[in-house]
Homo-oligomer: 477 residues x 2
C-alpha cells in the first residue's frame, strides 16, 4: 500500500490520499462528481439513520419533491434565484425534443417545496408544517474536492412553515441544536455555533445559523446550517393562512440542511498521520480481528478462537475477522488503520498461550493485552464508548487551543497566516467592506458572530471604527 502524504506538510494531498486508500470514494468521469464506494457510502447510511431519527423526533415528516424546477418557478424569489441560478445545471431537452420551458436541477428545494406549501396551508390549524427530504442536489462548482465540494451531493433539507416569527425562530434554533448534538454525540465533533453575518447568509434568508468545526489544518468547516427565511418566500409563492380570528396572514419559513460534506468534515477533524479515525458510533466496522499465524496448525487454532470472540461480540459490536490468507498481518494493520477502524484485535499463537488478545486503539495507538475471557460485549461497549469520548476530547482540545481572541488587526493577521491557523475572535465594525478587506488580505472570512457584543469603545482592528460585533474569523473550506 502506498504511503499517505504527510498530514502536516501537505494537508490537501493527505486528504485525497486518505479518501483513496480508505476506499471511500473516487472521482467519476463526470466532471466534479464522485462515486461513493461502499465503505464511503456506509458512512452516509449511518449518518442518515441517526440523523433521520433526530429529525423525526422534532415532529418532522419525510416527503419527496421533484428533481426538476421549472425556470418560472425558481425565478419567483429574487434574492434566492440571484444566489443560485448561476450555479444550476439546466435541462433543455427531454424525450428527444427541445423543451418549451427550461428545467433547473434543484440546487436546493425551497422554491418547489414552498410552491406546494401554498396548496397545503390554509388555516392556522395546518401549522406548523414540518417537512424533510433526503435527496441529491446539483450545484455547478468550479473547484471541487471529494465530499467537501462536488457538483452533485446528497443531503437532507428540512423545510418548515410557521404562524409567527417566534415559532420560526424556535424551529431554527431547534434544528441547529439538533445538528450540534448530532455532531457531538454521533460524530464526536465539537463545533462552534452562532449566527452568520448578513453578507454570508443563505440567499433569500432573514438570517442563518451555523455550526462550524475546525479541521486539523486550522480551517473552519460547516457542519449543519439552519435558516430563518422570514416571509419572503411566503410572499413570492403566495403562501397564506387564516389565523384564529379569521384574518389572512403570511407564514414564516425555515430551512436547514446537512450534506455529504460532513463526511469530509469527519476526515479533516479526526484524521491523523495514519489515515482516517472513525468515531465508533459512525464506524461501519467497529472492531477487526487480525489473526496471526505461520503454520496451518497455528492458523486453525487462532481462527477458531477468533470466530468464537466474533460470535460473542457480533450481537452488539460491528465486528469482522480479517481472514484473508493472501495478505500479511502487517498489511492488514495498515489497511484497517487507514480505514479508521476504532479497535484492532491481534490474535497470535503467543496470545493463545497466554489466553489473551492484544487490543490496539486507533484513537491513541495504545496496545494492551486483554484476557480472552474479558472480551465481553459490555467490556467492548465500554471500550468503544471511551474511544468515542476520547476522539471528542482530542478534537475539543485542538479546537480550544486553536481559538484565540485578539484586539489588533496585526494579531489577527499573524494567527491566520501561521501554519497553525485556527479561529480568531476579533472586534468587527459590522460592515461588509471591512470583512471583505480582511478576506482579501488574509483569506479569512467571518464564520459566526459572538453572542456577546464588544465592550464600549473597542474598535475594529482594521478600520478603526467602533466595533459592533465580536466576529469569529477563520480560513474556511
Amino acid at each position: 500500500m502506498p504511503r499517505l502524504a504527510d498530514q502536516q506538510a501537505d494537508f490537501p494531498q493527505w486528504y485525497l490520499d486518505v479518501i483513496e486508500q480508505a476506499d471511500l470514494a473516487e472521482h467519476a468521469d463526470v466532471k466534479g462528481c464522485i462515486i461513493f464506494k461502499p465503505y464511503g457510502y456506509a458512512l452516509w447510511e449511518a449518518i442518515q439513520r441517526d440523523l433521520d431519527r433526530r429529525i423525526k423526533a422534532l415532529g418532522v415528516e419525510n416527503a419527496y419533491f421533484p428533481l426538476f424546477i421549472p425556470e418560472s418557478m425558481i425565478a419567483k424569489e429574487k434574492e434566492h434565484v440571484k444566489g443560485f441560478a448561476p450555479e444550476c445545471a439546466v435541462v433543455t431537452h427531454g424525450g428527444g425534443k427541445e423543451l418549451t420551458e427550461k428545467l433547473y436541477i434543484r440546487p436546493t428545494s425551497e422554491t418547489i417545496i414552498y410552491n406546494s406549501f401554498a396548496k397545503w396551508v390554509h388555516s392556522h390549524r395546518d401549522l406548523p408544517l414540518k417537512i424533510n427530504q433526503w435527496a441529491n442536489v446539483v450545484r455547478w462548482e468550479m473547484r471541487t474536492r471529494p465530499f467537501l465540494r462536488t457538483l452533485e451531493f446528497l443531503w437532507q433539507e428540512g423545510h418548515t412553515c410557521h404562524a409567527t416569527k417566534e415559532d420560526a425562530d424556535q424551529m431554527v434554533e431547534a434544528a441547529l441544536a439538533m445538528y450540534a448534538d448530532f455532531d457531538r454525540e454521533f460524530l464526536a465533533l465539537p463545533v462552534m455555533r452562532g449566527r452568520k453575518p448578513e453578507h454570508e447568509k443563505f440567499a433569500g434568508a432573514l438570517y442563518t445559523l451555523s455550526t462550524e468545526a475546525l479541521a486539523r489544518d486550522g480551517k473552519a468547516i460547516q457542519a449543519g446550517t439552519s435558516h430563518n427565511l422570514g416571509q419572503g418566500f411566503s410572499e413570492a409563492y403566495d403562501v397564506n393562512f387564516l389565523d384564529a380570528v379569521g384574518k389572512q396572514q403570511r407564514p414564516w419559513m425555515t430551512s436547514w440542511g446537512l450534506s455529504t460534506r460532513i463526511i469530509g468534515t469527519v476526515i479533516v477533524v479526526h484524521g491523523d498521520a495514519k489515515g482516517l479515525r472513525l468515531p465508533p458510533m459512525l464506524a461501519p466496522i467497529q472492531m477487526v480481528i487480525v489473526p496471526i499465524y505461520k503454520t496451518d496448525e497455528e492458523k486453525t487454532a487462532v481462527l477458531k478462537i477468533a470466530r468464537e470472540i466474533e460470535a460473542v461480540l457480533k450481537p452488539t459490536v460491528r465486528i469482522k475477522v480479517d481472514d484473508r490468507d493472501e495478505k500479511s498481518p502487517g498489511f492488514k494493520f495498515n489497511e484497517w488503520e487507514v480505514k479508521g477502524v476504532p479497535v484492532r484485535i491481534e490474535l497470535g499463537p503467543r496470545d493463545l498461550e497466554k489466553k489473551q488478545v492484544t487490543v490496539v486503539r486507533r484513537d491513541t495507538g495504545e496496545k494492551t493485552a486483554m484476557p480472552i475471557a474479558s472480551c465481553t460485549p459490555s467490556a467492548m461497549q465500554t471500550l468503544l464508548a471511551g474511544i468515542q469520548q476520547s476522539l471528542y476530547d482530542q478534537a475539543e482540545e485542538f479546537l480550544k487551543s486553536h481559538t484565540h481572541t485578539v484586539e489588533s488587526y496585526d494579531d489577527l493577521k499573524k494567527i491566520i497566516a501561521s501554519d497553525e491557523g485556527g479561529f480568531v475572535w476579533a472586534p468587527w465594525d459590522g460592515t461588509r467592506e471591512t470583512a471583505e478587506r480582511v478576506k482579501n488580505q488574509t483569506k479569512a472570512s467571518i464564520r459566526l458572530l459572538g453572542e456577546e457584543k464588544p465592550a464600549e469603545g473597542v474598535k475594529d482592528g482594521l478600520s478603526g471604527v467602533p466595533a459592533t460585533e465580536m466576529a469569529l474569523y477563520a480560513k474556511a473550506y
Copy 2:
C-alpha cells in the same frame, strides 16, 4: 370527504381518487412528476428498510454513482442506448455556460456503473462484485400516472459482475427470488414469475426475469425485474479479469431493480371500494383508536383508556389515537379506511361500560367486541399477522380465479376483452410478429413464458404455426 369513484365502473379514476384522498401523492407543477406526500413517502421508507435488509443478505453492498452520464459514455452499448436515449432528459447548460459534452440524466445506471467496474475488476479474486444503489432516475414518459409511470421515480438498482455465466444466472435467479419473497412476505402480493420473451427484455440484456402481479382490474403489473446482461456491457466498457490460470476473461453482468411503481402495485392489487388496504407489515399506522364521546366527561373517560391501550401496544404496534376534536367519528372511520389502516379500534362510553373495545378489520370489514384486558401486544400481533395473511389469500384467490389456460385465439381474445380480464396462458409460436399481432388486436402482451413447453403438435392459436412456448398474456400497466 368526497366519495371515491366506483372501483368497478371506473378503475383509473378510482386509482387517482385513492391517491388523493389517502394523501399519498399529488401531481407536481413539473410535467409528469409527482410529490410524495408524507403518508406516501412513509410507504417507500418501509419498503426501503425491508428490501435493503434482503439486498444486503445477498452479500450486496450499497454505493452511489452520479446522476449524470456523459453522452459518450451512455453511447457505448448500442442496444442499450437505442432503448434508452430517446427517453432521456438532457443537460446542455451548467454554471451559466453551454457544455462541451451533453450530460444525460440517468434513466438507469448500467453505463456509468460498468464504466467503474472496468477500474475495479482485475482478477477473479475481485469477483463476484455486487453493488446496489438507491437513487432517483428520469425517463421522459408521455403518459404518466402517479407511482405507476412518472418522469422521475425512485428505485434501487442492483449491479453485479461475475466470472461465469452460471454465476450470473444464479444471481439473476437469487434477485428474482428475493423480489418474489419480498412481494409475498412484506407486501402480501402473490406474483407470477418467469422469463420475458426476447422482444420484451431489457435493452441490452441476454434475458430478463420478472415478477408480475395482477391488479383488480385484471391487468398485469411488474413487481421487480432481474436481467442477465451477458457479456455485452463487459465488452462495451472493457471490463476484464485474469482467471485463476492467468488468462484474460470477460465477466458477466446482471442488473435488477424495484421502483416506487410498487406502491401503485399495492394500491391496485389490495385496494377496494373504500380505498387503500395496507398489509400490516407495510402500514405506517397499523392500528388507529377512534374515541367516541358526546360529553366532556365521556371524552375524559374514553381518552384515558385509549391512552392506556396505546401505551401498552406502542412498543410493538404502530398505533395512533385519533384525538382530533373537530372531526366526527364517522369522518375518522372513513378517513382511516381510505388510508388503508389495517385495524380500527372504536372506543365509546358503551364499550367502556362493558370493559371492551370494538375492533374493525380493514381487510374484511369484520367487527368484533374484544375485552380491554385482552388487548395485549401478542393478541394484536396475532391479529395483524392474520390480516397480512388474509390480504395475501384474497389476492391469491383473485389471481388464481383470473388465470386461464386456452388453446384457441378466440378464447384468448374473449377473456382479455372481458371486464374481468386476467392472465391467459396460451400456446405461442415464438415469433415477435405473432405477439405483436395479438397485441394490436387485443392490447394484451406476453408478460412471461412458462417453464413447461407446449405439448407436441399444439399450435399457436393465431398463426396456426406449431407453438414453441406457453405464453402468459395480459393487458398490462
